[in-house]
């Protein structure tokens, strides 16, 4: 063990206290603002101690923004992203590491090339893909003549049957965000480290691939799955750009978009007390997750970048 310096320790404590204060300062002022009346929030100088109206403002914000529905939407979308992405990527990771089949490397490349482009750089075409998910199929079927064939023989209108608009639907909010291979890559990396003896033993015992997957690989991946679900939960809950684009009806908004609507704009009444009270219950679920599962989350985050 190396020597310790009292002076350095004190300095470091001061640095950390300042850091913690900077982190907490916006949250504290938001709390103070959320506990004032609309008159008090505009006074100069700004009060430094909270007032008694926090609960009142929270209730007002919850009602004004219709957050009951928005909270449900946020939870459905987040759960969809977490479960969908985990399910899709764990089996894909399993397939590329544990199976020999033709075009295995092609499949591998097709998946991993998607790591190259973040969703933000293809905003508009992805929007189109969601607004008209059947479009590519329609073009395909009319190109191979299936559309005309069906219309002539059975009178079935394929063009109209394939009009899928996913704007204002949970699918439209979830699916584009699952379309990335980061989790698949993580699972693949992990499966490569699983000892070969386990698979040998399972085969000797007569287990098929799915039994091996369910009884050996899944239990081994438990801690990876836990860490990844936390990160995906934060990712899903905190989505902003996609819900903003893909929802036009208020009943489909997520909590994040509901909060955006409460921010006072230039000419409106500056109801910052309501907006700040609302920001607390919008950030509460991810904040609780971080506070309660900090160890899992840090491990998962650092590990996922390896």
């Amino acid at each position: 063990m190396v020597e310790r310096h009292i002076g350095l320790s004190i300095f470091c404590h001061i640095v950390l206290l300042i850091g913690a204060a900077i982190v907490c300062m916006p949250l504290y002022f938001a709390f103070v603002a959320g506990s004032l009346t609309i008159g008090e929030v505009q006074q100069v100088p700004f009060p430094l101690v909270p007032g008694p109206h926090f609960v009142e403002n929270t209730v007002a914000a919850w009602k004004e923004g219709g957050f009951g529905q928005l909270y449900i939407n946020s939870f459905i979308v987040t759960a969809g992203i977490v479960i969908g992405k985990l399910a899709v990527s764990i089996i894909a990771g399993f397939a590329v590491t544990y199976f020999r089949f033709p075009f295995r490397m092609t499949a591998f490349w097709l998946i991993f090339i998607s790591l190259m482009l973040p969703v933000e750089v293809r905003i508009i075409p992805t929007y189109e893909a969601v607004a008209d998910a059947g479009g590519p199929l329609r073009s395909l079927f009319s190109a191979i003549g299936l559309t005309d064939f069906l219309a002539n023989t059975t009178g079935y209108q394929l063009e109209t049957a394939l009009q899928w608009n996913m704007i204002n639907s949970y699918g439209g909010l979830i699916l584009p965000l699952i379309a990335s291979a980061s989790a698949t890559f993580l699972f693949r990396q992990f499966f490569l480290t699983v000892p070969d003896e386990l698979c040998e033993a399972a085969k000797l015992d007569g287990a098929g691939p799915m039994k091996f997957f369910r009884d050996v690989l899944l239990p081994l991946s438990k801690s990876n799955i836990a860490a990844l679900s936390i990160i995906l939960f934060l990712y899903g809950w905190n989505q902003y750009l996609w819900p903003l684009l893909f929802t036009t009806e208020k009943s489909m908004y997520t909590a994040m978009i509901g909060l955006k609507d409460l921010i006072p704009v230039a000419d409106a009444q500056p109801a910052w007390n309501i907006a700040m009270a609302a920001s607390f219950f919008v950030m509460a679920p991810p904040a609780l997750v971080i506070l309660l599962m900090q160890r899992w989350f840090t491990k998962g985050l650092v590990d996922s970048s390896k």
């Binding site: 640095v15 905003i123 390896k306």
Partner: protein, 329 residues
């Protein structure tokens, strides 16, 4: 605690290879045997079934949109008839000669640069301090990690309030000091505010990685330096920091990616790209031109430019991961 445990997720793997990424990166270019377990199954149809969901989602929401973005960048869409005319590189030449786009690119570069190094410096200072202190370490960590849970959009809302020229408590302080603070009118103030919100939100990310990297430096090396008479700050600068260099390089890349692509929520809640385009970064401009101005050709060309940037950063990111693993003790 052994150094490797700090950043190992566990999970029951007995023989975790020392250099998992070097192995996997090698496999990206290798033959069809690589990345395949020695003990594997031969059930092609089952494998196809397992891969199908991932490939279908990628087809509809990755490959087709990417192809469309690429093809749209080379056409001009007639606003009335919906007909498309192939215009070659016209969209790009118009884009690059537009002073607005050049301003936006320079602004984005500055913003990302300042954000990247300010975040890294503050996080490094905090991680160093965390490495030194013993008492209260868990509490400090818990508090400093908190902004990770907070969405960029909420970070934007919080700071927009704090520095709101009419009601914001910190804006009042600046005005009392005689500074005419107004991010709604003064471009510099707006950019400063967006940067502060972006940095505040991102410190925790760098901090997590730096704490793990500093912790991973073997105690024996630190002790050897101490025996040679190096004091704590010198030990940090000459031993810990160089050993954490690969992590730092990785974080520089990640901070740039964050500054370029993930600050949309902050900008949209604080400034909407204004005043006078002073916070209109490249990603925000794609959104503005595509969804507000409905200039699809230019927006697609901008998307292609961003794609090129994203590919460059992904390659850098992989490089940094490779280096990180090679240096790891």
């Amino acid at each position: 605690m052994p150094a490797s445990e700090a950043i190992d997720i566990g999970g029951g793997a007995v023989t975790r290879p020392r250099y998992p990424l070097r192995r996997s990166l090698g496999s990206l270019a290798g033959s069809s045997e690589v990345g395949l377990k020695a003990s594997h199954f031969r059930r092609p149809w089952l494998a196809v079934g397992l891969l199908a969901p991932q490939l279908l989602i990628l087809l509809f929401f990755f490959f087709i949109p990417t192809y469309k973005a690429l093809s749209l960048a080379f056409v001009q869409v007639d606003p009335f008839g919906g007909t498309m005319i192939f215009v070659g590189l016209d969209n790009f030449t118009t884009l690059f000669s537009s002073p607005e786009y050049r301003d936006s690119a320079i602004l984005t570069l500055w913003f990302s640069f300042v954000q990247c190094f300010a975040t890294l410096f503050i996080a490094g200072l905090l991680a160093f301090a965390t490495d030194v202190v013993i008492r209260g370490r868990a509490i400090y960590k818990g508090v400093i990690l908190l902004p990770y849970a907070i969405a960029p959009a909420i970070s934007g809302v919080l700071w927009a309030f704090l520095f709101n020229p009419v009601v914001g408590p910190l804006a009042h302080m600046l005005q009392d000091l005689g500074y005419a603070w107004d991010p709604n009118r003064r471009p510099f103030d707006a950019l400063l505010l967006v940067s502060v919100a972006a940095i505040w939100k991102h410190i925790c990310y760098d901090y997590i990685f730096l704490v793990a990297a500093f912790l991973a430096v073997p105690a024996s090396v630190i002790e050897a330096a101490a025996i040679d008479g190096a004091r704590p700050v010198r030990r940090f600068l000459t031993v810990t920091l160089p050993m954490a260099a690969p992590t730092i390089f990785f974080l520089v890349v990640m901070n740039f990616v964050y500054g370029l692509f993930e600050t949309f929520g902050i900008i949209d809640t604080i400034t909407h790209g204004g005043p006078a385009g002073s916070t209109n970064t490249l990603v925000y401009k794609v959104y503005q031109d595509g969804f507000r101005q409905l200039d699809l050709g230019s927006s697609a060309a901008q998307s292609v430019v961003l794609m090129v940037i994203a590919v460059v950063f992904t390659i850098l990111q992989f490089r940094s991961l490779e280096r990180k693993v090679n240096y790891q003790v």
